[in-house]
Structures are given as C-alpha cells and as structure tokens.
Amino acid sequence: MALVEVRNLVKQYTAGGPNAVDDVSFEIQAGEIFSLLGPNGAGKTTTISMISTLLRPTSGAITVNGCDVLGDPMGVRRSIGVVPQDLALYDELSARENLRFWGEMRGLHGDGLKQEIDEKLRLMDLTNRAADRVKTFSGGMKRRLNLAVGLLGNPPLVMLDEPTVAIDPQSRRYILDWVKDMNTKGLTVLYTTHYMEEAQELSHRIGIIDQGKLIAIGALEELTRLVGEHETLILTLYQESGGTQLAEAVAGLEGILQASAHDGEVVLNVASAETALPTALGQASLLGLSVRTIEIREPNLETVFLHLTGRALRD
C-alpha cells in the first residue's frame, strides 16, 4: 500500500477561476524520495499544502498513511513532518526552545522529547548553539534547525518544500546529503523543487508539474525515455536580446524539434546535435548574432520538460 495516495486532486482558489492544481494523481511508496519538479507557480506548494491539510482540496482525494485528509486530518498530521520553504521559527527563542515548543505541539513531552531534541541538535550540528537565540544564527544554521523541526516525532513522511531556495552552495549540499542519508534510514520524502539537478540527484521517482497539471511521472530513466534519443543543444549568445529571435528562426527547421530562449541562451531539442548545429549557427549568422559558447547535453529532465511543454524549465 502506498504511503501517500493522491487522486484527481483539484484546487481552485476562487470559484470559476483557474485551477491552481488540475486533476493531479500520484502515489508515493514508503521509503521513496518523490520529487515534484516544476517552475515557480506550477502548483507544487499548493499540492503539498493540500497533502499536509493546510489547504482544503476543491475536489479529489488524498490519503496519507491510510488517513484521509478531510476525514482524519489529525491522523494525517501525526504522519507527516513539514519543512516549509520559508523559515518557520521563532527568532526570539533559542534553538532548544524552538525544538521544545514544536515538539510539544506534536504531542511530545518529558524525557522522550528531551532525548529527541538532543538527537536533532546533534544531527544538525547545532548542539554548541542550542542555547543561543535563533536570531543570532546564520542562514544555513536556521535552515538546519528548520529541517530538524520537520523531523520531530520521527514521522514516516517528511515534506520538503523547495528547501534549497536562496541558500549558499554549502548549505544546499548539506541538505541534499541529509535527505539522502535520512532516506537510507527509512524516511519517505516528498520533495518539491524547480532545480532539475536536485530532482535528478535525489529522486527515486519524479512528477513533473506545470500550470497545475502533472504532465509526467516516473523514474529519471523513464522520463528521459519520453524524449527518445534526442539531445539538447544550448547556444549562448553575446547578444542577450537575440535569443528569442534565434529560437523563433530555427524552430521547425529540419532536425530541430523544439526551441526556446532565456537570458541569451537558446535551448534546442534536436534529433542530432551534429546535424542541427550547422543549421543553428547559420541562422545566427544570418541574424547577425554571435555565438559565445556551444553545449551539447544528453537527454535530461530539462530536455523532458522542454519536450513536454515547449518551454525551458526556468521560463
């Protein structure tokens, strides 16, 4: 039995308005890292908010650990830990006080809570700063404490909503390694991100979401297979403003399946880089554009997203 089951989930914030989440269905198996990958505004946070009982679905069904989000929200909440995108901590309380408060809110108390607080502080390398107020912490330390709070009570499922947004590379690396490590210890993770590399590195399975719709789901290999044997050709131009012009010029030419532009980069989904490259360079020359770098990539999630939506993931 799946730990999380999502069936035909729909969320409409205003009656008659657009669907922020549109008929999304997926399952997460126990012990799995499942990533929801999509650009900003795709519906990732809305989906996670409905699974965590924070938002009421307009329609559809969700069960977590056998508990229905509408019928037994407390059962769902006892089964999950949530690590929100923004730091949800009390700056005026110390790290230990924060953990104690959030632990007590999860129903923990006594020696059990004390032991768990000590364990989480150790896990996040915060033992030496346990008595310091959070407002004196660096951004990375706050992130780690934010993660620790999500783990209190050792819930079977932890949901991390874009945990690496706006943090330094070291902290990002720490979080990714931590997710993998916790997963090896049996933790099931629902991870949302708009970074393709993170989803690729972490996930057993990935759901690609765009404009509220889950457009593909599967393991990395299964998803890249959707693109076929295609390659990705990325041209960086000296003239940033020329990207869109070049993408429009090459779209539909022989061997070029899809084209998009972003910040002076032109991303082409091509059958063969060898045959498409002269065509693209020729068009750039005709338009008076100078190519600074050329990169050829094997199929990846970026290619998949481009293939499925016609747009680059970061558009």
Binding site: T53, R77, P84, A88, E92
Partner: protein, 450 residues
C-alpha cells in the same frame, strides 16, 4: 489543555523578550504616570465655565456671608454657577447623581472659628470689624470701644488654640477637573479672607499694645495699625489658614491625578500591547509559523485560543506590574479584589479588540495601522489623557464602545473608594462589550482559517 498552555506561555515569553514591547508595555506608562503625577500632584485644574456648585451655609455668620459673596461675585461668576441650598441630604444626592460638580459645605461655627474676635466684638462692643478701615480707625472707634476691644483681644490671645475648622467639598467622582477648579477657587477665597482677618487682627494687636501702655494718641495708633495691616497682607500663606479644605468624593476618598494617571496610562498602554499582540497572529501567518502550527497535530481552535490566552496573560502581567510599580510611587488603585476583577475584565475585553482587528485585517502592517488608530482615538475619547466628563455627551456615549472608557470608569470608582458591588454594573457592561468583540472576531477568524 496542555498545548493551549504551551501556546500561551510561548506568547508571554516572546512578548517579554522583546525589548521594544517592554518599553511600550511598562516603561512608557510608568514614565507618563510619574510625569502626570508630578505635573498635577494630588489634584488638577482646567479652564472651564459655569461649573454647577451647590453651597450649603450651616454657619450663617459674617465670615460665611463673605465667602458666599465672593463665590457669587463677578470675579468668579464665569467659572462657577453657585446655587445656595438648605438640605444637605438632597444636595449630596444631586452630587451623587452627577447633576452638579460639588457641594461646598460651610460648617456651623465657621465664623467663630475662622475669626473668633469678629462675633465677640460685634456682640459686646457693637463694632463690625470687617468694616474697620485702619487709616480711619480714629474716627471709627471711640476710646471706650478701643479699650473694650483691647480687653477682648487680650482674652482671646490667652484662650487655648483650637483646631482649624474644615470646609468640605463633596465632589462628583465623574468631574475631577471641575472639582479641582472648585477646590482651587474656594482655597483662594479662604486665603483672601484670611488676609483680611489677619490684617484686622494685627491692627487690634497694635491697638491693644497702645491702649495697655498708654503711649501716644490716636495718630500714633493709626500709624501702627496701617503698618500692621500691610504686614498681614504679605505674611499670609496657605499653611497659616485657620480653615482647612477637604475634598471628599461620594464614597469618601479624594480625587488624585497620580491615581488617575496610573490607571489611565495602564489602560492606554494595555491597549497598545494587546492590539500589537493580536497583530502577531498575522505576523505568524506571514512568517510561516502559523501554517506550520496548523499542520501540526494540534486543532486550529487550540492554536487560536492558546495564542489569545497568551496575549491575555501578557496583558495581565503588564497591568499587574504597573499596579505594583505605581503603588510603590504612591498611586492608589482601589480595593485589591475589585482591582483584580477589573484587570481581568479589562484585559479580556482589550484582547477582544486586538482579536477583532487581527481577524479582519489582511496583513500585520494593516492591523498595526488600524490598531494604533483605534487605540489613540479610542484613548482620546475614553479618558486616558483627560477625564471623559469634559467631553460632549455624544462623545462620552461613543467612547463606551471602547474598553478604555469602561476600564477607566471602573478604576476611577475603585480609587474613590467604591466597593466591588458598586462596580458590578460596569463590569457587566464591559462583559457584554467583550462578548460582542469576540463574536465579531470569531466571524473574521472563521473566514481566515477557512
């Protein structure tokens, strides 16, 4: 219940760790209380006109007539609207009902005690000393009269000194400023009368000296009397008055600006603290801690009540600390049990205002702006800066929509010595208002939490 308490204690801890909040909650009201207390002392005054005052003359003597004449004269006519009364009980009832600002009672024996020589000379020598002109004493007094007056003066000088007699101002609890004006005026009139009687006494002292020593003639006596009269005009001080003033409220305790400021400032800054506390709910939503709480296995109602409970607890601690601190500097809040009841009721009600603002605001900034506006305007019309009694009646009625007005009225009554049973109707009114606040807030929260 355990989670509710944990939520509440977290709120208290956060509030008391915020230095800025501590300044608003405790330091500023204490400083303002001290400032008001130092500025106005135990009473106060303000520019008012036609203050309705009853005067009960139980003395009917010459000095009492003088006092009444001055109170009714043109010089104070614009300030006071004096009405002479005969029935003490009826007059007190009118003060109790706040129909007039005060009842000034001139006690029986006032003339005798304030200027004992006056009536004796009048009775035994048939001379009205109040009409005596020092410069024309020669033509006004015969040698026999001078001798008799000197004898009476000497007799009186040897009589044992009596305690000062007291004029009572029975004051309306609802008109502290008006009462302050009345007290100030009566005090001035008494000083004026005392200067006159002191001048006359000095003249008589000189007369006695001349008569007994058989020195000089009437010319010399006139010179001495004039000098003595002038000395009297410069020597009189308030402390020398043989007549004392005592302001009593219907319940028997005097009005004091220090007391009034202590409670009114506490109420004002309680409002600031709790409206700011209510705003933290929106701040928690914006900061992400509220959503995190809502996905914890804790019912939303527990979170909400716990948070509000924390604000109530913080408010109570704030007012309790202010009660203690202002008591140390001499302020009196009233019967402790009544004060505790008032604090609990007021804090609950004020938190209701904070909850109402938070429930219907979208952002912490919006709640902050609305909270500050409501607190300042509400405090202005509710008696935090000056008593409500000075405001037009429609504004006084409007101010009853604010817990400030109820709180200050309750505390004022307690400070004037009223009992708990006396304030029960006011507590009941405040309770109804509190229920209205929380009901309106509940609709707002329901909308927000859905």
């Amino acid at each position: 219940m355990r989670k509710l308490l944990i939520m509440a204690l977290k709120e208290v801890r956060l509030a008391f760790r915020d230095v800025g909040a501590l300044v608003t909650m405790l330091v500023t009201p204490l400083a303002l209380t001290l400032a008001f207390g130092a500025a106005f002392g135990a009473s106060g005054s303000a520019v008012l006109t036609d203050i309705p005052v009853l005067v009960l003359d139980q003395d009917q003597g010459a000095m009492a007539d003088q006092l009444v004449d001055i109170l009714q004269s043109d010089s104070v006519g614009e300030l006071l609207a004096v009405e002479m009364v005969q029935d003490d009980a009826a007059a007190r009832a009118r003060v109790d009902a706040d129909a007039v600002a005060a009842l000034v009672t001139i006690p029986s024996g006032f003339t005798d005690r304030s200027f004992p020589l006056l009536s004796r000379v009048q009775e035994q020598v048939d001379v009205d000393l109040l009409s005596l002109d020092p410069e024309q004493a020669e033509s006004q007094l015969t040698p026999e009269q001078q001798r008799d007056i000197a004898i009476l003066y000497t007799q009186l000088e040897n009589d044992p000194q009596e305690d000062p007699i007291t004029i009572e101002i029975f004051a309306s609890a609802d008109r502290p400023i008006s009462v302050g004006v009345v007290k100030g005026l009566v005090s001035q009139v008494l000083e004026q009368l005392h200067m006159t009687t002191q001048g006359i006494s000095n003249i008589l002292a000189a007369l006695t000296t001349i008569t007994t020593q058989q020195q000089g003639g009437m010319q010399n006596m006139a010179r001495l009397m004039t000098t003595a009269g002038e000395e009297a005009m410069t020597d009189v001080g308030v402390d020398d008055l043989p007549v004392k003033l005592r302001v009593v409220s219907p319940s028997g305790r005097p009005f004091s600006w220090l007391n009034y400021s202590a409670t009114s400032m506490a109420v004002l800054f309680l409002m600031f603290a709790v409206t700011s506390g209510g705003r933290t709910l929106l701040a928690e939503r914006q900061g992400g801690t509220l959503p995190r709480l809502l996905v914890s296995p804790t019912p939303a109602l527990t979170i909400l009540i716990g948070k509000m409970g924390g604000i109530v607890l913080t408010g109570m601690l704030q007012v309790l600390v202010l009660w203690g601190a202002t008591t140390l500097i001499g302020a009196y809040w009233g019967d402790p049990f009544g004060v505790l009841l008032a604090i609990v009721s007021l804090v609950l009600s004020a938190t209701g205002v904070g909850a109402l603002i938070s429930a219907w605001s979208q952002t912490p900034g919006q709640a902050g702006a609305i909270g500050t506006m409501i607190t300042l305007i509400g405090s202005g019309i509710s008696g935090s800066f000056f008593p409500r009694s000075g405001l037009p009646s429609w504004l006084q009625s409007l101010s009853l929509l604010m817990p400030n007005a109820w709180g200050i009225e309750i505390f004022s009554r307690l400070q004037l010595g009223k009992s708990v049973s006396d304030i029960l109707p006011w507590l009941g009114g405040l309770l109804l208002l509190t229920i209205a606040y929380y009901t309106a807030a509940a609709f707002g929260f329901r909308r927000q939490f859905d």
